[in-house]
Symmetry: C2
Subunit: 726 residues, 2 copies
């Protein structure tokens, strides 16, 4: 009996009484076996792989990834040769590692340290495909790109592909605690089993590294930004060292978060003042200790003076003082410091959206060369939609890293299908309109982040990981797409979210256009659906207290004003929205718009010119205000909330039609999650409408159903065990 | 390409750069394909499966398990028929469900509700194997037993096997919290994803049910004995209902823990007094509500007035008052109440080992018929070794359930290889020597628990689960054997731990005797190794505070005396051990021995007759006391601590020799864990010797190495993130 009938027979048993195999573990590297004429075509191009002997660990992994990819695609191993011996050879290597590649005089100069070239050409008299780079990790990236082409059904006969990453540091940020709890994690526990490290190195770490390398991610911050000094203790450095050994073969460097008060907590010092010589010496020694164990350690990520975390301001020093102290400690080893701009202070009475800008812009030029300031895409906190952060473009002398949140803290956790590609794309494509950057470069956020606009030496992007111990890694199949699109955009911020969705769908499911087209459509509209049923028209931060699960726009009793949903929506009998325009006569807006470049500020400051999607972000407007549809603001809110729910119903219908193309296990999981999403979208709509109606006392537009329950019902719901707590 | 070369090729890629497939998920149901002549033999006996049409869900699952087992064994599906059509037929069913089985007039009377019969005979003129029972779940158990025979290499030509369980209620107890933390869990999070229930029912629940059914477990307590009233709230009953739907097809009923104060916390009552009519009505209504959702709900497990849990004594009522109130609520629905005897009170100055007996024996005869009292195997708390609990045999009118701990809270978590079969067997085989039971029945603990001695109507066994979200379920491959042996002994307490180990090894790894024999030997010695390096000669409870990770015999400053290791070992300059003999002249022992039957009390009360393994459990002896080896007590302690470490080294050597028989992934994981165990065994030895030596100032025997570090080093170690915290 050959393999396929066996698998088919096993599949037939699935979901009657027994469970199944298509559990999502293989991610987009699933690489279903290719059949028919296409298999013959592929086979004709990958008859063997040519690898130099004695290459580095990374090159060896590139070779094994090639064999694995070939085995999966063709259910057939390919021989490894030192030089082309057959037609249809694939040659891997760098000029330094491979005499064959060196002999080809390839145009590799423009590829930089990590780029690759994939080219069809004759080598040693044989028809071949060359996957070459200036570094072994570039070859590895090329191998993954090659199989992306193979698995997406691309023709392989005349390849001439080259690519290099736009940013140097492409990281995941794990908000993972040492007890394996993941803050804002909806996919189980942390995959880092600190207790069993260093004695046991879970083979899953290797699969983690493979998946990340396949999309160009080259580093990972292992620990939570709400940091724990213990992660820098000697026992934990040993554990991190063991982990780095598993990730290094795939080009993944590790980084740690640094708790600013660690010199006190771990070192027994009396202060953590960044200008104190003892403190500086402690950090220097700590960096030396880490680098002795992990020579390619990437550096530190720091959240300081934000939400209760210690920081330099505790000692009347600036963020630059703090960052530079750490930067000096890691500089001799080639490390960097990533200093988060997400700061907001309890004492500051100003609009929370303004605080990062106010604190950081004056420090531009005062950071050491190896410091990057890490800025969230928007000025509040990873909402379903925010306008771009005004810091982008405003710190020309300081490398600004983008921080996206891949985990869906505010977008329905892991049961709501929300493809974040459009969210990321919207942020990266936003035009800052700042002046003074490089000539001819449109000053988009992407061009700030990739360093082209301001000529940053270091560049980077960070994504808050949605990865956990769940078998599916991300808690759902479609959340894997968010990990994927983040990595692809970190490599090239100008890729299109739609193209990436299609790439992902083809690799994860099938190349059948009857599946690809509707599912990509569904993904592309999914984030807008969430915006509609949670926070339409520029509303924000209406989620349940603490866990952010479900609607709670009525909450107004939290410890600080800017934790309350009422702070954000400011609804009263007359209207709704946050006036961020200029203050007049001591009244009026927070003037946050003035942090943008003048052209942008003018646009956002004018109700008529403000894109409707940001309307209530920037303006407080009467319920009767007419919007572009001709409806009143209140009617439009009801329409959009309702539309969000309807969009999910449409997604359910689309998915129902995909049954012929998907294995039962994934089909059922996605369908079950969509049902949960639909129920929760309805809950969002009904609770928000019930609440806002209790304030404005206005009727619903004709034909729109009232909320299913009275407001008190929604207010009574409690979710003490919602996942992802801080 | 057929299946085997494909799998071989994939395996060849394992552990070079990539990860692997033999991750332990399939447990003992792994069912490797059978090869060669044996495959032909098996094939000749399972040419088809005969199943009645339109059977129950359970019978349908029995049929699918058969097909799955056949498919795995022979990589070949078998046809399903309504009557035997081929030689080598396998006939499944009950007389009620299957006309074919009904026509055979099988001797099924003695099999009870859950037993099965497997017999070779001619059916309808064809050579057949009949797997029959009085109930569909009995057929399911028979199918699993049949494949145990198949996979263990047993001859199938002339089968005549029958079996019925010795206990009625065979449960796992999950100490799982609603936030998915598992108390004393070392295998990841809880597999119950309460947040996603009821909308999403993880297919893993089905595999959980299959695994349990395969060893005869028929119920599971979903929630922690340190209970949370929220688990009885309507939303959580809906979630439990969804879970019960996944488990029911495999004969697994669900149970919940009941927090005694739930009427206050959930019901808003002012009291939880079990004699209060409002409280009684609340529980009755709650039971009715649960049974309306889950008609086969099993009942409640209760931890009351123990370690801070609320209970009837808060209202000056007895445990019987509390249990009977709940028992009345579930009785109309056929449910039971399991009331834990693990009680110890802060105020009681007596030996903690005595308290359960003192509280419960006077209540014998005062519990309702559907109450079982659940008793841990020993009187302290799941130590590496304890003498049997004196309650066994002392409550002839009250069904006593055994509570074993499968999760290794005190035996090295999931990285120490310690097969618990011998521990369970030692407890079950202990002879209570009580009088007055059924004539001709040796009054062992097993005969108390299975009800034969005292004629209990209800009987049961509970195992505290070692199951979590880890891919391997139990955190390690060998910990799966502890789940397995628990289930097999709950079915039949008279099975041998060694035979069960062999069964498990054959199914989990291979039938090759070159593997089976040494690995079974290794398993059988492994628990004794733990006793030696942790708590030799009857010592107990010397583990680290709270988490119980590693040694901490020096701790003497905890909130209550009987949480301190010093309370248990009582070492001073003169000697060591806990005198549990009679008090003389106001001094002397705790008299715990008097709780045993007189013959046993005389044995344990006499230093010379006390088995050496319990020496310091019952006696405080001078360091110079001569033991059977001729050595002083101190020298013997050192020898045993050292021997424990050496035993682990021998296990490492044994395992190293097993490389040819095991896939790389499992070989490496076991080897890595053994290395951790060896390091931690050395730590245990050295820390304990350093500590006791600091007290007795005695030299080590010749040739025994001093501890690697000074005592202060061991005392300085801290493990704030050790897993499994309460």
């Amino acid at each position: 009996m050959n393999a396929r009938p066996l698998l088919a027979a096993l599949a037939a048993l699935v979901f009657s009484c027994s469970s199944a195999a298509e559990d999502g573990y293989d991610l987009w590297l699933r690489a279903a076996a290719i059949k028919g004429a296409r298999a013959d075509e592929v086979r004709s191009h990958i008859s063997e792989v040519v690898l130099p002997e004695g290459g580095s660990e990374v090159l060896r992994c590139a070779g094994e990834e090639f064999r694995r990819g070939a085995l999966r695609a063709l259910t057939q191993d390919v021989p490894v040769e030192k030089a082309p011996a057959r037609e249809g050879s694939v040659v891997l290597g760098t000029p330094a590692s491979s005499p064959v590649v060196a002999g080809l005089a390839l145009p590799l100069q423009s590829l930089g340290d990590e780029g690759y070239l994939i080219r069809s050409q004759i080598v040693g008299g044989k028809r071949a495909i060359v996957i070459a780079a200036n570094s072994d990790v570039g070859v590895l990236y090329g191998v993954f790109q090659f199989f992306r082409l193979v698995q997406s059904g691309q023709p392989l006969g005349a390849l001439d592909v080259s690519s290099r990453p736009s940013t140097k540091i492409r990281l995941l940020n794990h908000w993972d605690n040492l007890d394996q709890h993941v803050e804002r994690g909806y996919a189980g526990q942390s995959i880092w089993n600190w207790h069993k490290l260093p004695g046991w190195v879970d083979p899953r770490y290797t699969d983690y590294a493979r998946a990340n390398a396949s999309i160009g991610i080259n580093g990972t911050v292992l620990t939570n930004v709400n940091a724990n000094a213990t992660s820098l203790a000697p026992a934990y450095i040993e554990k991190a060292k063991a982990l780095s050994g598993a990730l290094r073969p795939y080009g993944i460097r590790i980084y740690l978060t640094a708790r600013f008060s660690a010199p006190i907590e771990l070192g027994g010092l009396k202060t953590a003042d960044p200008l104190d010589p003892g403190v500086r010496a402690w950090w220097k020694a700590k960096a030396d200790e880490i680098y002795a164990a992990i020579p390619d350690f990437g550096g530190f990520l720091v959240k300081a003076n934000s939400e209760g975390q210690p920081g330099p301001q505790d000692y009347k020093r600036t963020h630059a003082d703090g960052a530079n102290m750490l930067a000096e400690a890691v500089a001799p080893h080639g490390g960097v410091v990533m200093w988060r701009a997400f700061v907001y202070s309890n004492e500051t009475p100003t609009d929370r959206a303004k605080q990062a800008f106010d604190e950081f812009v004056p420090l531009d030029g005062r950071f050491n060369e190896n410091v990057l300031v890490q800025v969230k895409n928007g000025a509040i906190d990873f909402q379903p939609r925010e306008p771009f952060h005004p810091l982008f473009g405003a710190m020309p002398k300081t490398p600004l890293m983008m921080e996206f949140q891949i985990t869906k803290e505010y977008l329905g956790f892991s049961t709501h299908l929300a493809y974040l590609g459009p969210l990321f794309e919207e942020a990266l494509d936003a035009d800052t309109r700042v002046k003074g950057g490089k000539k001819g470069v449109r000053p988009t956020v992407a061009k700030v982040v990739d360093g082209e606009l301001h000529g940053y030496k270091y560049t980077g992007m960070a994504g808050v990981a949605n990865i956990g111990s769940d078998r599916s890694w991300s808690g759902s199949i479609f959340d894997q797409a968010n990990w994927y699109v983040y990595g692809r955009l970190a490599w090239d911020p100008e890729l299109s979210a739609r193209d990436i969705a299609e790439e992902w769908v083809r690799q994860t499911f099938t190349n059948d256009p009857a599946f690809v087209k509707p599912v990509v459509e569904m993904m592309m509209g999914s984030r807008e659906a969430v915006v509609d049923y949670m926070t339409p028209l520029g509303l924000a931060h209406l989620m349940g207290t603490g866990h952010h699960y479900g609607p709670a726009p009525w909450v107004n009793d939290l410890g600080r004003a800017d934790w309350n949903p009422t702070y954000y929506h400011r609804a009263d009998a007359n209207g709704i929205g946050f006036d961020r325009g200029p203050a007049k006569d001591g009244k009026g807006g927070s003037d946050a718009i003035s942090q943008y470049a003048p052209e942008v500020a003018r646009q956002f400051g004018d109700v008529k010119k403000t894109p409707e999607q940001f309307l209530l972000w920037f303006h407080h407007l009467p319920w009767s205000h007419r919007v572009s549809s001709g409806r009143s603001l209140w009617d439009e809110l009801v329409v959009r909330y309702t539309r969000g729910v309807e969009s999910v119903a449409k997604m359910q219908a689309t998915w129902e039609g995909m049954k012929p193309f998907v294995d039962e296990e994934r089909f059922k999981q996605v369908g079950d999650y969509l049902a949960i999403q639909h129920e929760e979208a309805q809950w969002w709509r009904d609770a928000c409408i019930a609440y806002f109606q209790s304030i404005n006392k206005l009727p619903l537009p004709d034909g729109y159903a009232p909320p299913k329950h009275p407001l008190e019902y929604y207010k009574s719901l409690r979710f003490p065990y919602a996942p992802g707590r801080t």
